[in-house]
Each structure stands twice: as C-alpha cells, then as structure tokens.
C-alpha cells in the first residue's frame, strides 16, 4: 500500500476508511477538526511539517464533503513560506479549499505576484497554477501584464509559458479588458508559430476564448490555424510524445477547428481550399478501429470537423458526405458514437442555411422510415427508441423526432413508442408517455387517431400519464363536436376491459358524463348501462376521481331525454350515500347534485355540456419547452419547437372547413417571419392566439381608412376609425374589414397600426359573452398612457377590467370584458382607445363586434312544431313583422341561405313548399331567451327584392332582428328609409302570406 509519506495523515485516512457507517465517520472527522483547531490556536506555533500535515487533513475532510470553516488562514499563509515544499502545499490546498471570491485571497496577491515575476521557475509555476485555477477579478487587474510578459518571453521554458497562456485565459475570462485587442491580435498570430505542441495547445485554448468574444480582431489568425491543422493532419513535425494512440494531438486539432468555427466565414479562396483539403482528409480517415481510445480520439476530431463543415456551409458534396457519415454513426453499436451521431444529425436537420442539401437527405431518412422492408423500418425506429432509452440521449432523440416526424410517418413513430412503452424502463416511461402524447397531438392525421393514442397510452402506462395529458384530450374532444360521440364510445369500450387504470376511469367518466347521451341509441350505451359500468369503479377509486364520477352521474341523468326512474333512483341513492362522505368536495358535490337532480329537467341547463375551451398552448408542449435547457447551441431546436408550438393551436368555435380540422391545419413554418420566434418569448406564459398578435409584418392590405364620421352604431358602413385626424398614425389595414371578419368569427385582429395590434377573442353563451382584447405593443419602446374605455349601449352591461397604463416593448396585455345582453338592440359598443407612442398621442374609436347574431343560437324545430308556432304568432295579436326589402344584394338562393346561417339562424330546408323561400329559426338571448322564426321569400324574377318576415312572441325582438337581418341583406345600407315601415301587416296580406304557405305543409 502506498503511503502518503505523512504518518499522521495516513493514520487519519485509515481511521476514516475503517468507520463502519456515516455517523462514526462524522464523529471521527469532528474529532480531527477539533484537534486541528486546537493545534492552530496553539500559540507556540507549529513546525512546517505539522502545518502541512494539518492543512492536508483539512483538505481531505473538505474533499469528503464536510464543511471546513476554519484554518483557511493557515493554508493561505503557507503560500508565503520560503520553502518550496510548504509553498506547494499552500498553493494547492488554497486553490482547492477556497472559492475565487474568498477574502483571504486578497492578502496573498502580492506574494503571488512576487512569485510570478521572481526568478524561481518552480515558484512561477505554482503561482501561475493557482491563479489559473481560482484567480478572480482582482488577480486579473493586478497580474495580467506580468502573466502576458511570461507568455511572450523568449527566455522562459515551455512549462512556464503554457501555464502563463492558460493563466491569462483565466484572467481574461474574469475580465476581458485585461487583453487589449489591438496589441494582442499580432501577438497571438506570432504565438501560433510555436513549434512546441504543449505551448501551442495552451495558446489555442486562449485563442478560442479570445475569438469567441471578438472574431473580427483575430482574422490574422485564420491562416495560421489552418496551417496548424495541415501540420497535424499531415503528421509533420509532431514529436512522438504528442501523438495519442498514433493520432497527432487530437486535442489540439479539436481546439484549432473550434477556433475556426467562430469566424463567420472564410472568404480567402486559398485558405478555404487548404482548409477543405484538411477537412476532407479528416472525413476520409474514419474507419472504426478496435482500440477504444484511438477510436474516441479519431471521432473527437471527426465530430469537430463535422461541426466545422456545417459552419462553413461547405459544398453540397461535402455535406452529403457528412450526412452519410452520420447515417453510419447512428447505426453503430458503440453508444457514444451513436449518441453523437444522433446529436449531430439533429443539428444537421436544424441548420437552416444548408436546408436544401439537408432536405434531400431528410426525405431519404424519412423514406427509409417507410421502407417496404419492414426490418429496415424497425431497425430505424428501434434505433430511435433505443437512443431514447439511453436516458441522456432522450432529448436528442426527441429533437430528431421533431425534425423528422410529420403527418406521413407520425403514426409509425408514435405507435412504435406506444409499443415500446410497456417494456421501457420505469425511469423513462413518464417522459416517453409525454412525448408520445405531444407527437400524437402535433402530427395526428385525424383527431380520432389522437384520441385512440391517448387512451391506449393511459391503458398501457396509466401510472405515467400525467394529468396534463388527459386534460388535453378532454380539451380536444370538447372543442370538436364531431369527435364527441367517437371519444365517448371509445371511453366506454375501455371501461369494459379488466383492470382499468384510475386515470382511465377519470377520463372515461368525464367523457361519458359529457357525451354519453350522444350514444344512447347504441347497444350497451343507455344511460343506465353507462352509469352502471362507471359506477362499478366507484368503490375502488380515489377521492378526486369520485368527485369526477359524481359529476358524470348527474350529467348522465339530466342529459338523458326521457327520465328513467330506475336510473334516477340509483343515482339519487349514490348522491344520498355520499352526502356524508369524509371528503368535503365529494360531500358537497353529492349534496348539491342530489338537490339539483330532484328539481328534474328544469336543471338541464345547469348541467349542460361544458362550453368550448379557449384555445391555448398545449400544456404538454409547454412542459417540454420548460425542460428545454437554455443553451446557445440548442437555439435552433428551440426555434423549431416554437414554430411547431404556434401551429398546434386548437381553434375553438370554428367549423371545420373543407374537411380539415382547424386544430390540425398547420402553417408551413417557412412562412413565418424569421424574427417570429421572439414573439412567444415576449408573450411569456400567455397562450398563443390564432392570429399572431405581435406579428411584425404589416397586414397585406394598406387601404387608407375612409374618414366619414360615425353615422350611427347600427350603420354597418359607419367608419370605425373616427377621429384619425388627430394623429398621423394610420392603421395597417382596413378597420372595417377587420370588424366585418370579427362579426363572422370570434377571433382575429380588431385594429393594427405600426405601434399596436389589438386582437380580439370572444366566447358567447346565451346572453353572456366574454371578450378578451389582446393589446400587443409591436414597438421597441413602451406605449404610455394607454386608455381603453368602452362605451356600452343602453341595452348591454359591460364589465371591463383595468388596462395597465403602460405596455412594455414587445409585450402583450390582455383585457377581458364581460358582456351581458339585457334587451334587444342593434346598437353596439364602441371602444375608445388611446395611447402615447412617445412621440405623439394616438387615439381612435373602434366598434366592437358585439352584434345581434352573437346572441342568436340556431333552433331546430320539428315541422309540425314550427308550423304550430308560426300559427300562434299569426295571432291574434299578430306578432309577425313583415317587410318587402328592395335593393338587396342579388344572391343565389343557397348563398342567401348561407348568409342567414352565418347569423346563427338554423335553416329548415323543405319546411316551406315554395323552393324560393327560406325559413329558419333561432333563439335570441337577452334577459330571457326568445324563439324567433324567420322567413325570406325571394322573387326568382327579381333577385334584388325579398319579403322578410320575422316572428317572435316579443315584438321588440322581432323589430330589432328584422332590421338587423335587413342590414345584412341590403347591398348598400344607407340612411335611406326602408321601403316599407315595419308595422302590422294587413290581414289580407296574411292570407297569401307565410301562414298560408305554411298551412299547405300540413
């Protein structure tokens, strides 16, 4: 056994080693610390040998992880000792024990400086080593010139000079000012002529740091670096001791190539040619060898060369060669090479300026993923999966998956992941589940597949499926009507399986509670059956799940069309029983639901389906982003991730168009402005909205706003931008067009100018609405004195939240507004907005799209019912308002019907025997809901005139609604008087009017 040469130290180390457990060890260490403390306090002083011994013991104790909070002074004081042996101990222990910010270090700056400028080479080395390892800012300021002198000195030995180079590197890192750019560029260039490889390696490390901060200043070093590489790769003039397993200093090669990656481009054709020759040589000599160290060293150089090639934007052939090599690497068994192959392949996919050449290969890779040779495909996916299982490679693989996954191969990849999930390491299952869920969401070819994947995920790895995942699926299902019966049926099927995971009970309970009534005609799906299959699980699930199930029960009960007394008894009994449940939440739900369900069908509305969720960023993606580490070299990854994020938005309340689900439509990432990735950052945690609320690009249309004063709130052409004369700031598009668009949909731009963008999102439910205004500052300066006042019409109640006075640069604030419609009116609220863009005050008024149709909801009536109601409205008293409208936009019948539909009137085709007529019904929500029947009679001979009839029990509604519909139909809504005044139609009219036609239906 080798001994330390200090008996006391060896004994102590032995003692510590012999301790049976942690407590004994601590006791022994404490004893020793007490001993050392006493010794140090001893006035008589210690012999140098004793001092050394105790200081070493301190370091040993510190190394074991114990606090050593005394005796630092003794260690530091050894530095000033005259003898080498003590000085060495002082320097080494100090540099291990103390942090660079320790006060004691200040005390020795002078001693250290004397050692550095002194004649004793060994002292120089000790001092340089300590400063190089823990020197702080103060050392930088006082020692840098001396260290520089040593580095460029002709008389110093290489040992001192290489230490000086690295010491200077440390000082430069602490304070870049210590190396003045002007003088040093030439010095560095000269230093690169160094023949001694040790010194050259140290100099190259220094150069990496210098160039990283300021490449422009060190251009003169480029050719020298290329020459160093030539020397190394041609094995010219390399002493044997500097070859490592036959490779000329791989470390120097790597560092030199690293330096070259900091220069934006190498333009000199000669240097470029030489460099490419070098790189070509490196890329060629890559055959794997048996010796692991040689292999590693070769590949260290090779991967650095790959990075340099990528950086240099090499010719296509060379890039192709690199991709080929990477393809080889990701298929080898050696995990290190495979890891790096994967990592670099990912980088390759991200490098945008070589995208063209990458794309070709990307396609190739993806094609190989779909190769008819199933073995090849399996190998490839297996590789990805294996890489994922190699823990540390997970994120790399995910990046690669992001890069390669698309709609065409996502199914394969996700299904393989699902397959793998059941056999994967426990440690990574949660992450796998999360990632499978994200990929499924992002690349779902259709939403039902997405639902399948998530339910399978829960089935196979329920323990590892976080709540976020099932919340997300619920969100999707809620927002997509078509999906609801499918999801409910699937959920029901999963409940049939033996050993259902609790998470499955939750999601199935929720989905069936909301949507099982859509299945009620299917076998095994009657409310009673659904209830009993869910309730089977009730006894065994946890309290939070019980709460979910109770909600499901009452929904099942109240959603069913005909009340099944047996079911009702069952459910009531369950509520009853749980009224005394231990948990307050369950107890409360049980009591409230019991009371509610006893009130019967009048409570249906309370238990209606959940409204659509506002679109929001996937919490899953956010989770994935949060784990993304903020390092510079993954910025491309982040950028890509963000682009993907922004397209994975669920758009609520938008009807699927052309069979494509809005949730799944993607904006090609290339269309985004390159600066766009700053947007989500500025957005902070806010969910991305369907419009890019902080879009930097201006809207394509630049039509100057017309500047007529507002005629009246009901006038649809009245200009929204009213007092734009007050400022020179012009909107970037047509305010009217934006307004019109918002009348048809519920989110979009309300206003935009070079400084601000106001986006709007709205949700409507009955006579209530919630509008969120997104005020986005597009400017680089804050917007000040921001004021937003909404002038509500009489019939509406508006609750506005406060708008902050200042919007920071590139930031977005949200301003929610709650709307309640109290009585029928076509008047709309106006937003009075002003802000100060630090050069001028800008103010304008904008109409808010709170139009009548937002409070309309299509009503479907059976023909007999429709006619009965129509007859009832005919009176007496007659409640049908009728008007012949002229100057109507000449529209084909279908378009007119669509137009009426877009106002949320449910068209009832075929109810009117006359094919030229359109009838429909809608419920208008103000304080009380009112059913409205609407009929348009068109004249095939003259498309510009119609007869419009609106009937409601409440004539004030009918009056407003008729006017409202008229405004939509008339081509030029003007101040001109309507062709006939609304009023009581004559009885004679009625005989040939709508009632007569409708009567014919019976």
């Amino acid at each position: 056994m080798a001994l330390s040469g200090m008996r006391g130290l060896s004994v102590f180390i032995s003692d510590v080693r012999n301790c049976q457990n942690k407590e004994l060890e601590r006791a022994r260490v404490d004893k020793e610390l007490a001993n050392i403390r006493t010794k140090f306090k001893n006035d008589k002083g210690l012999t140098p040998y004793e001092k050394k011994k105790y200081v070493w013991k301190m370091l040993y104790i510190f190394m074991l992880g114990y606090d050593v909070d005394f005796g630092h002074m003794e260690a530091v004081s050894l530095i000033s000792a005259p003898k080498y042996a003590e000085k060495q101990v002082g320097y080494i222990v100090t540099s291990s024990l103390l942090n660079e910010n320790h006060d004691f270090l200040r005390l020795v700056i002078n001693t250290v400086r004397n050692d550095i400028i002194g004649r004793n080479e060994t002292f120089q080395c000790l001092a340089l080593t300590m400063v190089g390892n823990i020197g702080g800012k103060e050392f930088s300021e006082s020692l840098a010139p001396d260290v520089q002198k040593l580095l460029i000195s002709n008389s110093c030995r290489p040992l001192v000079r290489k230490k000086a180079a690295l010491c200077l590197l440390r000082l430069y890192r602490k304070n870049p000012d210590v190396v003045s750019v002007d003088g040093w560029a030439d010095r560095m260039s000269q230093l690169l002529d160094e023949r001694e490889i040790g010194v050259l390696t140290a100099v190259m490390s220094l150069l990496v740091a210098l160039v990283a901060n300021n490449p422009d200043a060190y251009w003169n070093c480029v050719s020298k670096c290329v020459r160093v590489l030539e020397r190394l790769t041609r094995s010219q003039d390399i002493p044997q001791e500097y070859t490592y397993y036959g490779i000329p200093s791989p470390w120097l090669q790597v560092k030199t190539m690293r330096v070259l990656q900091y220069f934006p481009a190498i333009d000199d054709p000669n240097i470029r040619r030489s460099l490419f020759e070098v790189l070509q040589r490196v890329l060629m000599g890559t055959d794997a060898v048996k010796n692991i160290n040689k292999n590693n060293a070769t590949h260290a150089v090779l991967f650095e060369a790959l990075a340099l090639v990528m950086h240099l934007d090499a010719e296509k052939d060379m890039m192709a060669q690199c991709v080929g090599l990477l393809g080889k690497f990701i298929a080898v068994r050696e995990p290190n090479i495979r890891y790096l192959g994967l990592e670099n392949m990912t980088r390759m996919l991200m490098v945008s300026d070589v995208q063209e050449s990458i794309k070709r290969h990307q396609v190739q890779i993806i094609t190989s993923l779909r190769d008819p040779d199933i073995r090849f495909r399996i190998i490839f996916i297996d590789l990805l999966v294996q890489c994922i299982s190699l823990c540390s490679i997970r994120r790399r693989s995910l990046d690669l998956l992001y890069g390669m996954c698309d709609v065409t191969n996502a199914k394969d990849i996700v299904e393989e992941l699902l397959q793998y999930l059941t056999t994967a390491d426990f440690a990574i299952r949660e992450e796998l589940a999360l990632k499978a869920a994200i990929l499924a969401e992002k690349f779902a070819p259709d939403l039902s597949w997405y639902v399948d994947v998530i339910l399978q995920l829960i089935e196979k790895a329920g323990d590892f499926v976080s709540d976020d995942i099932w919340y997300r699926v619920v969100q999707f299902v809620t927002n997509n009507d078509d999906l609801q019966p499918y999801a409910a049926a699937k959920a029901r099927d999963f409940l049939d399986k033996p050993a259902v995971h609790e998470t499955m009970v939750k999601v199935a309970g929720y989905l069936l509670g909301e949507y099982s009534h859509l299945l009620s005609r299917r076998p095994g799906c009657s409310p009673k059956e659904v209830f009993s299959i869910i309730h089977d699980k009730f006894a065994t699930v946890s309290t939070p799940t019980k709460a979910i199930l109770l909600s499901a029960y009452i929904k099942i009960l109240l959603h069913s069309q005909t009340v099944d007394p047996e079911l009702q008894n069952h459910v009531l009994a369950v509520f009853r029983k749980n009224e005394t449940y231990l948990d307050a939440e369950v107890q409360q739900r049980a009591s409230e639901y019991y009371a509610l369900s006893r009130k019967g069908p009048s409570m249906v509305d309370v238990m209606a389906e959940m409204p659509k969720f506002p679109e929001r960023q996937s919490a899953l993606l956010k989770k994935a982003e949060d784990t993304e580490v903020d390092v510079a070299d993954t910025s491309a990854t982040k950028l890509r991730l963000m682009q993907l994020t922004s397209t994975a938005v669920v758009v609520a309340d938008q009807k699927p168009a052309n069979g494509v689900h809005p949730a799944l439509t993607r904006v090609p990432s290339g269309q985004r402005n390159i600066e766009a990735p700053t947007v989500p950052v500025a957005n902070g945690g806010q969910s991305p909205a369907p419009v890019d609320f902080l879009a930097i690009e201006a809207a394509p249309t630049h039509s100057a706003p017309e500047s007529s004063p507002l005629v009246g709130p009901g006038d649809s052409l009245a200009l929204a931008l009213m007092d734009n004369q007050a400022s020179t700031v012009q909107p970037t598009g047509s305010v009217t067009e934006w307004f019109d668009a918002l009348c048809r949909k519920d989110s979009g731009i309300l206003y935009e100018d070079p400084f601000i963008q106001i986006g709007l999102k709205a949700e409507w439910r009955g006579n209530q609405g919630r509008i969120v205004l997104f005020l986005g500052n597009k400017h680089t300066a804050p917007l000040l004195s921001v004021k937003a006042v909404i002038l509500p019409p009489r019939h509406m109640q508006l609750l506005t939240s406060n708008v902050p006075d200042t919007i920071p640069p590139r930031a977005q604030v949200q301003c929610p507004v709650e709307v309640t419609n109290l009585s029928p009116s076509r008047e709309i609220p106006v937003l009075d907005f002003s802000y100060n863009n630090s050069s001028a005050m800008v103010s304008f008024k904008l109409r808010l799209p709170v139009i009548m149709s937002k409070f309309l909801q299509g009503a479907t009536l059976a023909p007999a019912d429709y006619i009965a109601r129509w007859k009832a409205l005919m009176g007496p008293p007659n409640k049908l308002l009728q008007e012949v409208v002229r100057g109507v936009k000449p529209l084909p019948l279908q378009e007119m019907s669509d137009l009426l539909g877009s106002l949320h009137v449910a068209i009832a085709p075929g109810y009117d025997p006359n094919v030229n007529n359109i009838v429909g019904a809608a419920t208008y929500f103000s304080e009380n809901p009112t059913l409205c029947l609407i009929r348009i009679e068109t004249d095939p001979a003259d498309r510009t005139q119609i007869r419009l009839t609106v009937g409601t029990p409440d004539t004030s509604v009918a009056l407003e609604l008729k006017e409202y519909i008229k405004e939509r139909l008339v081509d030029i809504p003007s101040g001109a008087a309507p062709t006939s005044l609304p009023g009581m139609p004559s009885p004679a009219d009625d005989l040939v009017g709508p009632a007569a036609s409708l009567a014919g239906l019976i």
Binding site: S4, I92, N99, I197, E241, W251, I393, D630
Partner: protein
C-alpha cells in the same frame, strides 16, 4: 471549458474533487451527490455522457472508481473523455498500475498530477512524458 473534475468510488465516496469555476462551495457536495447517483445507476452499456442542469457530465469507470468531468454543454465530448483517459494513464505511469487505494492515501499526489494535466479548466499538457518529467522534478526539490 471543464468546470469541475471529481473522482468517486462505487460507494459514492469522493476521492478527489477540483472546481474550476466559482460554483458556490456549499452547493458542491450536493452537485456531486446528484451527479454520482445518476452515474452509479447507469448501466455499463450506456454512453459516457449525461446532461445535468445546463452542463454535460463526461464520465468513465476505471475499476472501482468513476472519473467525472463537468463540462460546458458545447464542449467536445469525446475530446473530454480522452482527457480523462490521459489523466488515468498519467496516474498509472506515476503509481505503476494505479488503484483506488493509491489515490486514497496519496490524494495530495493526485492533486499535484491533476494540476499538471489541467489548468484553468483546459487541458494543459497532453504529453504523458512531459507531465512525468515535471512531477519527478517536483519530487526532487
């Protein structure tokens, strides 16, 4: 740049640690514990790199000892891996078939040697011969 180097035994005992950054002293044991527990739990056929916080840890096991280096995220992994091996070879040459006990009882020698191989978190000398010369010269003084 290398941020820290440490050697831990399979039992998780630290045999050597050296930090090249101002990482707060009180957080160091915790960092080492965290990294060690990850490394010790990894199978032998996995790669030698792990990601930890915003750093990479390059590690390699030699008999009962794990040699670990925390490096910047953009450092060349294989380069670092071979720095570890170089250090091991230097130790081997000095101690003659080095074993854990050599390093336990001569931990101060290990510090001397480390200081000749690494400096400022960079590789200082890649020639084993050169390091050996310096160490033996030190011993003579």
């Amino acid at each position: 740049q290398i941020q820290a180097v440490f050697l831990v035994s399979r039992q998780g005992k630290v045999r050597l640690q050296k930090w090249y950054t101002a990482y707060p002293g009180k957080d160091r044991p915790k960092a080492i514990r965290e990294i060690t527990s990850i490394i010790l739990s990894r199978g032998t056929r996995l790669c030698n790199f792990i990601e930890w916080k915003d750093l990479k840890v390059i590690y390699k096991r030699y008999a009962s000892l794990y040699f670990c280096m925390c490096v910047d995220a953009d450092d060349n992994e294989l380069d670092c891996l071979e720095v570890i091996h170089l250090f091991v070879e230097v130790l081997d040459r000095y101690f003659g078939n080095v074993c854990e006990l050599d390093l336990v009882f001569n931990f101060h020698k290990a510090y001397y040697i480390l200081d000749e191989v690494l400096l400022s978190g960079e590789l200082q000398e890649s020639s084993k011969k050169s390091v050996a010369r310096v160490i033996s010269a030190q011993a003579r003084i």
